[in-house]
Protein backbone atom coordinates (compact mmCIF):
# COMPACT_ATOMS: atom_id res chain seq x y z
CA UNK A 1 0.00 0.00 0.00
CA UNK A 2 1.44 3.37 -1.08
CA UNK A 3 1.76 6.32 1.26
CA UNK A 4 -0.94 8.26 -0.60
CA UNK A 5 -3.44 5.37 -0.74
CA UNK A 6 -5.08 6.39 2.53
CA UNK A 7 -6.20 9.61 0.86
CA UNK A 8 -8.08 7.76 -1.92
CA UNK A 9 -11.51 8.56 -0.46
CA UNK A 10 -10.64 12.22 -0.05
CA UNK A 11 -9.10 12.37 -3.54
CA UNK A 12 -12.33 11.01 -5.04
CA UNK A 13 -14.49 13.50 -3.14
CA UNK A 14 -12.24 16.40 -4.16
CA UNK A 15 -12.44 15.28 -7.82
CA UNK A 16 -16.26 15.13 -7.58
CA UNK A 17 -16.33 18.68 -6.24
CA UNK A 18 -14.16 19.96 -9.08
CA UNK A 19 -16.45 18.31 -11.62
CA UNK A 20 -19.18 20.73 -10.53
CA UNK A 21 -17.19 23.74 -11.81
CA UNK A 22 -14.14 25.53 -10.52
CA UNK A 23 -11.76 24.20 -7.88
CA UNK A 24 -13.19 25.94 -4.79
CA UNK A 25 -10.03 25.38 -2.77
CA UNK A 26 -7.60 26.83 -5.31
CA UNK A 27 -9.09 30.14 -6.38
CA UNK A 28 -6.39 32.29 -7.91
CA UNK A 29 -6.52 35.96 -7.02
CA UNK A 30 -4.69 37.37 -10.03
CA UNK A 31 -4.56 40.90 -8.71
CA UNK A 32 -5.73 42.35 -5.43
CA UNK A 33 -7.25 45.79 -6.01
CA UNK A 34 -8.54 46.81 -2.58
CA UNK A 35 -9.89 45.35 0.68
CA UNK A 36 -13.06 44.36 -1.19
CA UNK A 37 -12.05 43.88 -4.84
CA UNK A 38 -9.75 41.63 -6.82
CA UNK A 39 -9.21 40.32 -10.32
CA UNK A 40 -10.19 36.66 -10.65
CA UNK A 41 -10.43 34.88 -14.01
CA UNK A 42 -9.51 38.15 -15.71
CA UNK A 43 -12.39 40.24 -14.32
CA UNK A 44 -13.21 42.38 -11.30
CA UNK A 45 -14.74 40.39 -8.46
CA UNK A 46 -16.30 41.62 -5.22
CA UNK A 47 -14.56 39.96 -2.26
CA UNK A 48 -16.97 38.71 0.40
CA UNK A 49 -14.89 35.91 1.94
CA UNK A 50 -11.71 37.52 3.23
CA UNK A 51 -12.03 37.80 7.07
CA UNK A 52 -10.86 41.38 6.48
CA UNK A 53 -13.48 42.56 8.96
CA UNK A 54 -12.26 46.12 9.41
CA UNK A 55 -10.92 46.43 5.85
CA UNK A 56 -7.51 47.59 7.07
CA UNK A 57 -5.28 45.82 4.50
CA UNK A 58 -5.05 49.00 2.41
CA UNK A 59 -5.36 51.48 5.29
CA UNK A 60 -2.84 54.32 4.74
CA UNK A 61 -1.42 54.22 8.27
CA UNK A 62 -0.99 50.42 8.20
CA UNK A 63 0.65 50.44 4.75
CA UNK A 64 2.97 53.25 5.82
CA UNK A 65 3.93 51.45 9.04
CA UNK A 66 4.67 48.23 7.15
CA UNK A 67 6.73 50.04 4.47
CA UNK A 68 8.68 51.97 7.08
CA UNK A 69 9.43 48.76 8.99
CA UNK A 70 10.78 47.05 5.88
CA UNK A 71 12.98 50.04 5.09
CA UNK A 72 14.24 50.45 8.66
CA UNK A 73 14.39 46.83 9.88
CA UNK A 74 14.63 44.67 6.77
CA UNK A 75 12.36 42.01 5.30
CA UNK A 76 12.61 39.26 7.93
CA UNK A 77 14.13 38.34 11.27
CA UNK A 78 15.73 35.11 9.99
CA UNK A 79 15.50 33.36 13.33
CA UNK A 80 13.69 32.60 16.55
CA UNK A 81 13.49 35.05 19.42
CA UNK A 82 15.05 32.58 21.85
CA UNK A 83 18.11 31.88 19.73
CA UNK A 84 18.39 34.98 17.57
CA UNK A 85 16.97 37.84 19.57
CA UNK A 86 13.86 39.93 20.04
CA UNK A 87 13.36 43.04 17.88
CA UNK A 88 12.20 46.22 19.60
CA UNK A 89 9.04 46.03 17.42
CA UNK A 90 8.15 42.63 18.95
CA UNK A 91 8.41 44.07 22.46
CA UNK A 92 6.43 47.18 21.52
CA UNK A 93 3.68 45.03 20.05
CA UNK A 94 3.55 42.81 23.14
CA UNK A 95 3.35 45.82 25.42
CA UNK A 96 0.62 47.39 23.26
CA UNK A 97 -1.43 44.15 23.19
CA UNK A 98 -1.20 43.79 26.96
CA UNK A 99 -2.40 47.39 27.34
CA UNK A 100 -5.15 46.97 24.77
CA UNK A 101 -6.52 43.85 26.46
CA UNK A 102 -5.90 45.16 29.95
CA UNK A 103 -3.59 42.25 30.78
CA UNK A 104 -0.38 41.79 32.66
CA UNK A 105 1.59 40.40 29.72
CA UNK A 106 1.39 39.31 26.10
CA UNK A 107 3.35 36.87 23.96
CA UNK A 108 3.43 37.21 20.20
CA UNK A 109 3.58 34.17 17.89
CA UNK A 110 4.35 34.00 14.17
CA UNK A 111 0.82 32.96 13.11
CA UNK A 112 -2.60 32.63 14.73
CA UNK A 113 -2.37 28.86 14.31
CA UNK A 114 0.88 28.86 16.26
CA UNK A 115 -0.63 31.08 18.95
CA UNK A 116 -3.07 28.28 19.81
CA UNK A 117 -0.43 25.60 19.36
CA UNK A 118 2.09 27.49 21.47
CA UNK A 119 -0.31 28.46 24.24
CA UNK A 120 -2.19 25.18 24.69
CA UNK A 121 0.83 22.96 24.14
CA UNK A 122 2.85 25.26 26.40
CA UNK A 123 0.30 25.23 29.22
CA UNK A 124 -1.02 21.67 29.27
CA UNK A 125 1.00 18.51 29.81
CA UNK A 126 0.41 14.75 29.99
CA UNK A 127 -1.08 14.90 33.53
CA UNK A 128 -3.59 17.62 32.62
CA UNK A 129 -6.97 17.71 30.92
CA UNK A 130 -7.97 19.97 28.04
CA UNK A 131 -11.72 20.34 27.54
CA UNK A 132 -12.58 21.70 24.11
CA UNK A 133 -15.81 22.96 22.60
CA UNK A 134 -16.84 20.51 19.85
CA UNK A 135 -16.73 23.27 17.21
CA UNK A 136 -13.25 24.54 18.04
CA UNK A 137 -10.87 25.38 15.20
CA UNK A 138 -8.40 22.81 13.84
CA UNK A 139 -5.52 24.69 15.47
CA UNK A 140 -7.00 23.94 18.91
CA UNK A 141 -7.42 20.25 18.06
CA UNK A 142 -3.84 20.15 16.74
CA UNK A 143 -2.58 21.91 19.86
CA UNK A 144 -4.26 19.22 21.94
CA UNK A 145 -2.47 16.48 20.05
CA UNK A 146 0.84 18.22 20.62
CA UNK A 147 0.46 18.72 24.38
CA UNK A 148 -0.15 15.10 25.34
CA UNK A 149 -2.96 15.96 27.80
CA UNK A 150 -6.20 14.00 27.98
CA UNK A 151 -8.60 15.72 25.58
CA UNK A 152 -12.31 15.86 26.30
CA UNK A 153 -14.77 17.32 23.81
CA UNK A 154 -17.94 18.97 25.15
CA UNK A 155 -21.10 19.99 23.33
CA UNK A 156 -20.84 23.19 21.35
CA UNK A 157 -21.70 26.28 23.38
CA UNK A 158 -23.04 24.18 26.26
CA UNK A 159 -21.85 25.31 29.72
CA UNK A 160 -24.14 22.59 31.15
CA UNK A 161 -22.34 19.80 29.29
CA UNK A 162 -18.97 21.31 30.23
CA UNK A 163 -19.99 21.40 33.88
CA UNK A 164 -21.07 17.76 33.75
CA UNK A 165 -17.79 16.67 32.23
CA UNK A 166 -15.69 18.74 34.64
CA UNK A 167 -17.55 17.16 37.55
CA UNK A 168 -16.40 13.69 36.46
CA UNK A 169 -12.72 14.66 36.68
CA UNK A 170 -10.31 14.58 39.57
CA UNK A 171 -10.61 17.99 41.31
CA UNK A 172 -6.84 18.02 41.91
CA UNK A 173 -6.02 17.74 38.20
CA UNK A 174 -5.42 20.85 36.07
CA UNK A 175 -8.17 21.48 33.55
CA UNK A 176 -7.82 23.88 30.65
CA UNK A 177 -11.09 24.81 28.94
CA UNK A 178 -10.81 26.01 25.32
CA UNK A 179 -13.56 27.92 23.51
CA UNK A 180 -13.75 30.56 20.80
CA UNK A 181 -15.38 34.00 20.95
CA UNK A 182 -16.99 34.04 17.50
CA UNK A 183 -17.10 30.70 15.67
CA UNK A 184 -15.79 31.11 12.15
CA UNK A 185 -18.06 28.69 10.30
CA UNK A 186 -21.58 29.47 11.54
CA UNK A 187 -20.90 32.93 12.98
CA UNK A 188 -22.35 32.09 16.40
CA UNK A 189 -20.86 33.40 19.63
CA UNK A 190 -19.91 31.63 22.85
CA UNK A 191 -21.91 32.26 26.07
CA UNK A 192 -18.71 33.39 27.79
CA UNK A 193 -20.29 34.69 31.00
CA UNK A 194 -21.77 31.22 31.64
CA UNK A 195 -18.51 29.47 30.75
CA UNK A 196 -16.67 31.71 33.25
CA UNK A 197 -19.21 30.75 35.95
CA UNK A 198 -18.70 27.03 35.25
CA UNK A 199 -14.92 27.46 35.28
CA UNK A 200 -15.07 29.32 38.60
CA UNK A 201 -17.14 26.52 40.14
CA UNK A 202 -14.34 23.96 39.62
CA UNK A 203 -10.95 23.74 41.25
CA UNK A 204 -7.85 24.08 39.10
CA UNK A 205 -9.84 25.03 36.00
CA UNK A 206 -8.60 27.67 33.55
CA UNK A 207 -10.37 29.24 30.58
CA UNK A 208 -8.73 30.06 27.26
CA UNK A 209 -10.75 32.01 24.68
CA UNK A 210 -9.69 32.29 21.05
CA UNK A 211 -10.86 35.68 19.80
CA UNK A 212 -9.43 35.16 16.30
CA UNK A 213 -12.61 36.29 14.55
CA UNK A 214 -13.89 38.64 17.24
CA UNK A 215 -10.93 40.90 18.09
CA UNK A 216 -11.62 44.41 16.83
CA UNK A 217 -15.18 43.37 16.05
CA UNK A 218 -17.00 42.80 19.38
CA UNK A 219 -17.04 44.87 22.56
CA UNK A 220 -17.31 48.60 23.21
CA UNK A 221 -13.64 49.11 22.44
CA UNK A 222 -13.08 46.15 20.12
CA UNK A 223 -11.46 43.81 22.67
CA UNK A 224 -13.69 40.94 21.62
CA UNK A 225 -16.55 38.78 22.87
CA UNK A 226 -15.12 38.63 26.43
CA UNK A 227 -15.37 42.42 26.64
CA UNK A 228 -18.84 42.33 25.13
CA UNK A 229 -19.94 39.79 27.76
CA UNK A 230 -18.31 41.80 30.56
CA UNK A 231 -15.99 38.95 31.58
CA UNK A 232 -12.58 40.07 30.33
CA UNK A 233 -11.08 39.47 33.78
CA UNK A 234 -12.77 36.09 34.13
CA UNK A 235 -10.82 34.66 31.20
CA UNK A 236 -7.36 33.31 32.04
CA UNK A 237 -5.87 33.38 28.55
CA UNK A 238 -7.02 35.29 25.47
CA UNK A 239 -5.61 34.17 22.15
CA UNK A 240 -5.96 36.13 18.93
CA UNK A 241 -4.61 36.63 15.47
CA UNK A 242 -3.32 39.56 13.45
CA UNK A 243 -4.46 38.01 10.17
CA UNK A 244 -8.12 38.97 10.30
CA UNK A 245 -9.32 42.34 11.60
CA UNK A 246 -5.72 43.61 11.93
CA UNK A 247 -4.86 42.86 8.29
CA UNK A 248 -1.41 41.41 9.01
CA UNK A 249 -0.19 37.94 10.00
CA UNK A 250 0.83 36.57 13.39
CA UNK A 251 -0.91 35.72 16.65
CA UNK A 252 -0.75 36.35 20.37
CA UNK A 253 -1.83 35.29 23.82
CA UNK A 254 -2.36 37.61 26.80
CA UNK A 255 -2.75 36.70 30.45
CA UNK A 256 -2.70 38.10 33.97
CA UNK A 257 -1.01 35.00 35.41
CA UNK A 258 2.40 36.08 36.77
CA UNK A 259 4.12 32.89 35.52
CA UNK A 260 2.82 33.35 31.98
CA UNK A 261 6.11 34.66 30.53
CA UNK A 262 7.82 31.35 31.34
CA UNK A 263 6.06 30.06 28.22
CA UNK A 264 8.85 31.70 26.25
CA UNK A 265 11.25 29.00 27.38
CA UNK A 266 9.01 25.96 27.30
CA UNK A 267 6.48 26.52 24.51
CA UNK A 268 7.99 24.74 21.53
CA UNK A 269 5.86 26.50 18.85
CA UNK A 270 7.18 29.80 20.26
CA UNK A 271 10.79 28.70 20.54
CA UNK A 272 11.43 26.70 17.40
CA UNK A 273 10.21 28.99 14.65
CA UNK A 274 11.27 32.27 13.10
CA UNK A 275 9.79 35.32 14.77
CA UNK A 276 7.27 37.68 13.23
CA UNK A 277 8.64 39.86 10.37
CA UNK A 278 9.06 43.49 11.49
CA UNK A 279 6.58 44.69 8.83
CA UNK A 280 3.90 42.31 10.14
CA UNK A 281 4.45 43.47 13.72
CA UNK A 282 4.41 47.13 12.67
CA UNK A 283 1.18 46.58 10.71
CA UNK A 284 -0.49 45.00 13.76
CA UNK A 285 0.64 47.94 15.93
CA UNK A 286 -0.78 50.44 13.44
CA UNK A 287 -4.02 48.46 13.13
CA UNK A 288 -4.50 48.45 16.92
CA UNK A 289 -4.10 52.22 16.79
CA UNK A 290 -6.77 52.39 14.06
CA UNK A 291 -9.16 50.30 16.17
CA UNK A 292 -8.70 52.74 19.05
CA UNK A 293 -8.92 55.86 16.91
CA UNK A 294 -11.80 54.83 14.64
CA UNK A 295 -14.66 53.19 16.53
CA UNK A 296 -16.83 54.01 13.48
CA UNK A 297 -15.14 51.08 11.72
CA UNK A 298 -17.07 48.75 14.04
CA UNK A 299 -20.28 50.75 13.59
CA UNK A 300 -20.01 50.40 9.79
CA UNK A 301 -19.08 46.72 10.04
CA UNK A 302 -22.12 45.92 12.17
CA UNK A 303 -24.45 47.96 9.97
CA UNK A 304 -23.15 46.01 6.96
CA UNK A 305 -23.48 42.71 8.85
CA UNK A 306 -27.14 43.41 9.70
CA UNK A 307 -27.98 44.58 6.18
CA UNK A 308 -26.38 41.53 4.61
CA UNK A 309 -27.90 39.10 7.09
CA UNK A 310 -31.38 40.60 6.68
CA UNK A 311 -31.09 40.73 2.88
CA UNK A 312 -30.07 37.10 2.54
CA UNK A 313 -32.71 35.97 5.03
CA UNK A 314 -35.36 37.94 3.08
CA UNK A 315 -34.31 36.01 -0.04
CA UNK A 316 -35.55 32.85 1.68
CA UNK A 317 -32.17 31.31 2.44
CA UNK A 318 -31.45 29.71 5.78
CA UNK A 319 -28.71 31.28 7.92
CA UNK A 320 -26.40 29.76 10.50
CA UNK A 321 -26.76 32.25 13.35
CA UNK A 322 -27.91 35.70 14.47
CA UNK A 323 -26.33 38.66 12.63
CA UNK A 324 -22.55 38.87 12.98
CA UNK A 325 -19.68 39.66 10.63
CA UNK A 326 -19.68 35.96 9.65
CA UNK A 327 -22.81 35.15 7.68
CA UNK A 328 -23.22 31.42 6.96
CA UNK A 329 -25.78 30.45 4.33
CA UNK A 330 -26.92 26.85 4.72
CA UNK A 331 -27.10 24.67 1.62
CA UNK A 332 -28.91 21.34 1.41
CA UNK A 333 -25.90 19.29 0.22
CA UNK A 334 -22.24 19.52 -0.79
CA UNK A 335 -23.24 19.36 -4.47
CA UNK A 336 -25.79 22.18 -4.20
CA UNK A 337 -23.34 24.23 -2.14
CA UNK A 338 -20.65 23.81 -4.82
CA UNK A 339 -23.15 24.71 -7.55
CA UNK A 340 -24.28 27.82 -5.65
CA UNK A 341 -20.69 28.81 -4.91
CA UNK A 342 -19.91 28.68 -8.64
CA UNK A 343 -23.06 30.67 -9.35
CA UNK A 344 -21.95 33.39 -6.92
CA UNK A 345 -18.54 33.66 -8.61
CA UNK A 346 -20.23 33.67 -12.05
CA UNK A 347 -21.99 36.80 -10.80
CA UNK A 348 -18.70 38.33 -9.68
CA UNK A 349 -18.99 37.67 -5.93
CA UNK A 350 -16.38 35.61 -4.11
CA UNK A 351 -17.55 33.83 -0.95
CA UNK A 352 -16.15 30.75 0.83
CA UNK A 353 -17.36 27.22 0.25
CA UNK A 354 -17.33 25.24 3.51
CA UNK A 355 -18.15 21.55 3.50
CA UNK A 356 -17.84 18.57 5.90
CA UNK A 357 -15.71 17.57 7.74
CA UNK A 358 -14.57 21.19 8.04
CA UNK A 359 -18.01 22.29 9.25
CA UNK A 360 -20.12 21.56 12.33
CA UNK A 361 -23.01 19.10 12.12
CA UNK A 362 -21.94 18.00 8.60
CA UNK A 363 -23.36 21.25 7.19
CA UNK A 364 -22.59 22.54 3.72
CA UNK A 365 -22.27 26.32 3.73
CA UNK A 366 -21.62 29.41 1.68
CA UNK A 367 -19.71 31.53 4.15
CA UNK A 368 -19.55 35.29 3.83
CA UNK A 369 -17.32 37.54 5.88
CA UNK A 370 -18.49 41.12 6.05
CA UNK A 371 -16.08 44.06 6.01
CA UNK A 372 -16.31 47.64 7.23
CA UNK A 373 -14.82 48.46 3.83
CA UNK A 374 -17.88 47.12 1.98
CA UNK A 375 -19.99 49.96 0.62
CA UNK A 376 -23.80 49.91 0.82
CA UNK A 377 -23.84 49.20 -2.95
CA UNK A 378 -21.48 46.24 -2.50
CA UNK A 379 -23.67 44.77 0.25
CA UNK A 380 -26.63 45.16 -2.12
CA UNK A 381 -24.69 43.40 -4.90
CA UNK A 382 -23.92 40.45 -2.58
CA UNK A 383 -27.60 40.23 -1.55
CA UNK A 384 -28.72 40.32 -5.22
CA UNK A 385 -26.33 37.50 -6.07
CA UNK A 386 -27.81 35.43 -3.23
CA UNK A 387 -31.31 36.22 -4.51
CA UNK A 388 -30.33 34.54 -7.79
CA UNK A 389 -29.11 31.53 -5.80
CA UNK A 390 -32.40 31.47 -3.86
CA UNK A 391 -34.37 31.52 -7.13
CA UNK A 392 -32.24 28.68 -8.52
CA UNK A 393 -32.94 26.64 -5.38
CA UNK A 394 -36.64 27.52 -5.56
CA UNK A 395 -36.75 28.98 -2.04
CA UNK A 396 -37.19 32.68 -2.84
CA UNK A 397 -40.39 34.04 -1.23
CA UNK A 398 -41.57 35.29 -4.66
CA UNK A 399 -41.59 31.71 -5.87
CA UNK A 400 -43.27 30.50 -2.68
CA UNK A 401 -46.01 33.13 -3.14
CA UNK A 402 -46.39 32.03 -6.78
CA UNK A 403 -46.71 28.40 -5.70
CA UNK A 404 -49.34 29.31 -3.08
CA UNK A 405 -51.35 31.25 -5.68
CA UNK A 406 -51.13 28.33 -8.10
CA UNK A 407 -52.12 25.90 -5.37
CA UNK A 408 -55.07 28.12 -4.49
CA UNK A 409 -56.23 28.26 -8.09
Amino acid sequence: MGIFDKFANLTDRYAELRKLGRDPFAVKIEKILSATQAVIEGRDVLLAGTNNYLGLTFNDQCVEAASEAVLQQGTGTTGSRVANGTYATHSQLEQRLAEFLDSRSAIVFSTGYQANLGTIAGLAGPDDYVLIDADCHASIYDACRLCGATIIRFRHNSPTDLNKRLSRLDPAANKLIAVEGLYSMLGDIAPLADFVKVKDAHENAYLIVDEAHSLGVFGDTGKGVAEDAGVLKGVDFIVGTFSKSLGSIGGFCVSDHPEFDMMRVFSRPYMFTASLAPSNAATALAALQEIDANPELRTTLWRNAHNLHDGIAAAGLSLGAAPSPVVAVKMPSIEVAAYAWNLMLDQGVYVNLAVPPGTPNSLSLLRVSVSAAHSDEQIETIVKAFEVVAHELGVHPDQQRGLKVSAGD
Binding site: A134, T150, I151, I152, R153, R168, D170, P357, N361, S362
Partner: protein, 91 residues
Amino acid sequence: MNTVDELALHKITALLQPFNTRNIKISPETNITADLDIDSVAVMDMIMEVEEDYEISFPVNNLLEIKKVGDLLDAIGALRQSDALLQANAG
Protein backbone atom coordinates in the same frame (compact mmCIF):
# COMPACT_ATOMS: atom_id res chain seq x y z
CA MET B 1 -22.00 -10.25 24.74
CA ASN B 2 -23.66 -9.09 27.97
CA THR B 3 -26.86 -7.01 28.20
CA VAL B 4 -25.00 -3.72 28.55
CA ASP B 5 -22.99 -4.48 25.39
CA GLU B 6 -26.14 -5.42 23.52
CA LEU B 7 -27.83 -2.21 24.55
CA ALA B 8 -24.77 -0.23 23.54
CA LEU B 9 -24.59 -2.04 20.20
CA HIS B 10 -28.25 -1.28 19.61
CA LYS B 11 -27.68 2.39 20.41
CA ILE B 12 -24.55 2.65 18.24
CA THR B 13 -26.29 0.86 15.35
CA ALA B 14 -29.13 3.39 15.46
CA LEU B 15 -26.68 6.30 15.57
CA LEU B 16 -24.69 4.91 12.63
CA GLN B 17 -27.72 4.09 10.49
CA PRO B 18 -27.84 7.53 8.75
CA PHE B 19 -24.31 6.86 7.49
CA ASN B 20 -25.06 3.29 6.39
CA THR B 21 -25.54 4.23 2.74
CA ARG B 22 -24.73 0.71 1.48
CA ASN B 23 -27.22 -0.74 3.96
CA ILE B 24 -24.89 -3.31 5.49
CA LYS B 25 -25.61 -5.18 8.73
CA ILE B 26 -23.87 -3.26 11.51
CA SER B 27 -22.07 -5.59 13.92
CA PRO B 28 -19.09 -5.39 16.30
CA GLU B 29 -16.94 -6.30 13.27
CA THR B 30 -18.07 -3.26 11.23
CA ASN B 31 -15.19 -0.91 10.46
CA ILE B 32 -16.70 2.50 11.24
CA THR B 33 -14.90 4.71 8.72
CA ALA B 34 -14.17 2.12 6.02
CA ASP B 35 -17.59 0.40 5.84
CA LEU B 36 -19.77 3.48 6.43
CA ASP B 37 -20.01 6.88 4.76
CA ILE B 38 -18.92 8.87 7.83
CA ASP B 39 -16.21 11.47 8.40
CA SER B 40 -14.04 12.00 11.47
CA VAL B 41 -16.14 14.84 12.91
CA ALA B 42 -19.37 12.87 12.53
CA VAL B 43 -17.70 9.95 14.38
CA MET B 44 -16.89 12.30 17.26
CA ASP B 45 -20.47 13.63 17.25
CA MET B 46 -21.82 10.08 17.31
CA ILE B 47 -19.56 9.22 20.25
CA MET B 48 -20.87 12.29 22.07
CA GLU B 49 -24.36 10.81 21.96
CA VAL B 50 -23.04 7.56 23.44
CA GLU B 51 -21.21 9.53 26.15
CA GLU B 52 -24.44 11.21 27.14
CA ASP B 53 -26.24 7.88 27.57
CA TYR B 54 -23.53 6.34 29.71
CA GLU B 55 -22.37 9.50 31.50
CA ILE B 56 -18.78 9.02 30.48
CA SER B 57 -16.23 11.23 28.73
CA PHE B 58 -14.38 9.50 25.98
CA PRO B 59 -10.88 11.01 25.53
CA VAL B 60 -10.36 12.26 21.97
CA ASN B 61 -6.79 10.93 22.27
CA ASN B 62 -8.11 7.37 22.11
CA LEU B 63 -10.16 7.88 18.96
CA LEU B 64 -7.43 6.59 16.69
CA GLU B 65 -7.67 3.21 18.43
CA ILE B 66 -11.35 2.91 17.55
CA LYS B 67 -11.59 1.19 14.20
CA LYS B 68 -14.50 -1.20 14.64
CA VAL B 69 -17.83 -0.94 16.41
CA GLY B 70 -16.49 -3.66 18.78
CA ASP B 71 -13.55 -1.39 19.73
CA LEU B 72 -16.05 1.28 20.74
CA LEU B 73 -18.04 -1.22 22.82
CA ASP B 74 -14.83 -2.31 24.60
CA ALA B 75 -13.88 1.31 25.27
CA ILE B 76 -17.31 2.10 26.75
CA GLY B 77 -17.02 -0.95 29.04
CA ALA B 78 -13.53 0.04 30.18
CA LEU B 79 -14.54 3.66 30.85
CA ARG B 80 -17.59 2.62 32.85
CA GLN B 81 -15.44 0.30 34.92
CA SER B 82 -12.77 2.94 35.64
CA ASP B 83 -15.45 5.53 36.51
CA ALA B 84 -17.07 3.05 38.90
CA LEU B 85 -13.68 2.42 40.53
CA LEU B 86 -13.05 6.15 40.86
CA GLN B 87 -16.42 6.67 42.49
CA ALA B 88 -15.91 3.69 44.84
CA ASN B 89 -12.52 5.09 45.88
CA ALA B 90 -13.98 8.53 46.39
CA GLY B 91 -16.79 7.06 48.47
